[in-house]
């Protein structure tokens, strides 16, 4: 047999998960010096992972990155298998058998839990459920969120927390021309929520959201954002953190928190009598140094009990410890957004405490020993940090390692690659879709959005999508 990676002995790689990391890994392989065949398998019909089902609908520019991913799907080396659940429809062992390498890029699919009493009360949700629901993810289509209480609480202060708070803060008019799913818009239209608390366990110098996300809280049509001026007073260690030469981003975030702590200037009147300043009906409160310790309620959430925290330790190593001082807040809705973790996949090692696949620069390891043929990239490789482009550098690192292993990957046996995938899926009567079929669905979504002035109206049921193809 000729050399692995030549035209008549292509390097065959299966990639599990068609989010940004999966696409970047595919692109890096196709643009390498070797001849390859890349088979990208995705659980949903729709590709693009969190760019489609995570990125907020009111951030349309970020979604433009999809255009780049669609170009990556064009080369003949690229094959797409949508609506295929790896682990059920086809196993990791099947993929290893039929490919030289398998790259797992399945992201961090679940939320970390608070681990406090009452967490499972009705009205207590994960932020990702809500995000996936308003973004039309088919697995979350039937979730119900009761927006009839005036107060909602979001635990955590990262970008996902910010997204959830912003969607709750915005009017339907601010959202109706985005690609937010219609079923979500219909529920948001009836929302009674007018007090939104975004609560973090640490202080304003440790803010985890980007300044861009934070800035948007000053631009809401019908919601004012507040920070208690007492809460932007820093301890010495936090001042040192901000003064650090790498502290530019944190300084910017802190300045914005301080802006929100300033007294509000009256808004211009919006109606007669024109002398009466407009009072925005919704309020967003960003609060620091509090951890929820209990959720209370009779069957459904009624009250959140917080413990106030104090920071201790050296700069950059400060931890938040409970002070024993408790506070109560009446609330009917709570979203936790305190971190994400991957879910294990049969046949792939998993680090349970960290919620990632153990690896060295993308080579999957088990008990610190490299597992042949298996690689990983994206959030399931390094944990849930970074944004879309971060995954490009991450996937490139993995592919560089894979290329170094090329001799080891050549077991001199013929790998059937996509032919065998078709065979296995056909035998199991799985209705999988290729990229051309996805593009048909995509066109329908765009068409369906047009009458409403939306960039697209997503299909939220898999059967609806498949129905277009038969």
């Amino acid at each position: 047999m000729s050399k692995l990676g030549s035209a008549d002995n292509r390097l065959k790689v299966a990639i599990v998960g068609a989010g940004p990391s999966g696409f970047y890994a595919a692109d890096a392989l196709i643009n390498s010096e070797l001849k390859v065949e890349v088979n990208l398998l995705e659980k949903l019909c729709a590709p693009y992972g969190l760019v489609r089902t995570g990125v907020a609908p009111d951030h349309p520019l970020i979604k433009k990155s999809i255009e780049k991913f669609a170009l990556m799907a064009e080369p003949e080396e690229f094959n797409y298998f949508g609506n295929v659940s790896v682990g059920e429809d086809i196993t990791i062992d099947d993929l290893k058998e039929t490919h030289h390498a398998v790259i797992v890029t399945m992201g961090a699919e679940t939320d970390r839990k608070l681990g406090i009493p009452g967490e499972d009360l009705k009205g207590s949700h994960t932020a990702t459920e809500f995000v996936a629901w308003y973004n039309g993810h088919p697995e979350y289509r039937e979730r119900e969120f009761d927006l009839s209480h005036e107060t909602a609480v979001i635990i955590g202060q990262g970008n996902v927390a910010a997204d959830v708070a912003r969607i709750l803060s915005k009017t339907v008019d601010e959202l109706k021309f985005t690609d937010i799913s219609q079923h979500a818009l219909d529920v948001l239209e009836t929302s009674k929520v007018k007090n939104i608390y975004i609560v973090g366990r640490r202080g304003p110098a440790q803010g985890a959201m980007t300044s861009k996300e934070l800035k948007e809280f000053g631009e809401l049509w019908d919601c004012d954002t507040f920070v208690d001026p007492e809460e932007v007073i820093l301890n010495k260690a936090s001042e040192d953190e901000l003064a650090d030469r790498n502290g530019r981003a944190k300084r910017k975030i802190y300045e914005l928190f301080c802006d929100y702590a300033q007294p509000k200037k009256p808004h211009k009147a919006r109606q007669f009598p024109w002398t009466k300043p407009y009072v925005k009906p919704r309020q967003c409160h960003i609060q620091f140094l509090r951890s929820p310790v209990e959720l209370k309620g009779n069957k459904k959430l009624e009250k959140v009990i917080f413990e106030k925290n104090a920071l201790s330790g050296d700069p950059f190593k400060q931890s938040a410890r409970g002070t024993g001082e408790l506070e109560e807040l009446d609330a009917g809705l709570l979203f936790r957004s305190i971190g994400y973790r991957g879910v294990p996949l049969d046949g792939v090692p998993f680090h349970d405490a960290w919620g990632v696949i153990p690896n060295e620069k993308g080579r999957v390891t088990k008990d610190d020993v490299v597992v042949p043929q298996l690689y990983t990239a994206g959030w399931i490789k390094r944990g849930p940090s970074g944004i879309i482009g971060t995954n490009k550098a991450c996937a490139n690192e993995t592919i560089a390692e894979l290329m170094q292993d090329i001799e080891k990957l050549d077991d001199k046996k013929e790998k059937l690659g996509n032919k065998k995938i078709h065979e296995i899926l056909d035998a199991k009567k799985v209705r999988y879709i290729n990229f051309i079929e996805w593009e048909v669905i995509d066109k329908h979504e765009v068409e369906n959005g047009k009458p409403k002035g939306k960039p697209r109206e997503k299909f939220t049921y898999t059967d609806e999508m498949l129905g277009l193809l038969t």
């Binding site: 780049k68 530019r248 944004i387 482009g389 490009k392």
Partner: protein, 101 residues
């Protein structure tokens, strides 16, 4: 709004930013990088990557740096696209130290 490469890049050209750009918006001449505002999606992934803090979101630009918005727009049209991280320019480390970064 866009994201802009400014003065500090000149003579350094570390190009770390390029490795995280999801849309390949960077262009390059012999001195420095530029961002094509028509391609940039404002994700800001590049901002923290720059070892010399040369990259800013447009509305965060320090006073006196606003002219870089136009320079990025113009020069990105005239210069080649760069999609992979390169070796920094000679003297980049010295310049970084001189900048106090």
């Amino acid at each position: 709004m866009t994201t802009v490469v400014t003065d500090n890049c000149r003579g350094c050209r570390f190009t770390d930013c390029v490795s995280v750009c999801p849309v390949e918006a960077f262009h390059m001449d012999d001195e420095m990088l530029y961002i094509n505002p028509a391609v940039c999606i404002d994700c800001s992934a590049c901002v923290p990557e720059c070892p010399v803090e040369a990259i800013y979101e447009e509305d965060d630009l320090p006073d006196g740096q606003e002219h870089w918005v136009d320079i990025n727009e113009e020069r990105s049209q005239e210069t080649p696209n760069i999609t992979e991280t390169l070796e920094p320019l000679e003297g980049a480390e010295e310049r970084r130290e001189a900048l106090g970064l």
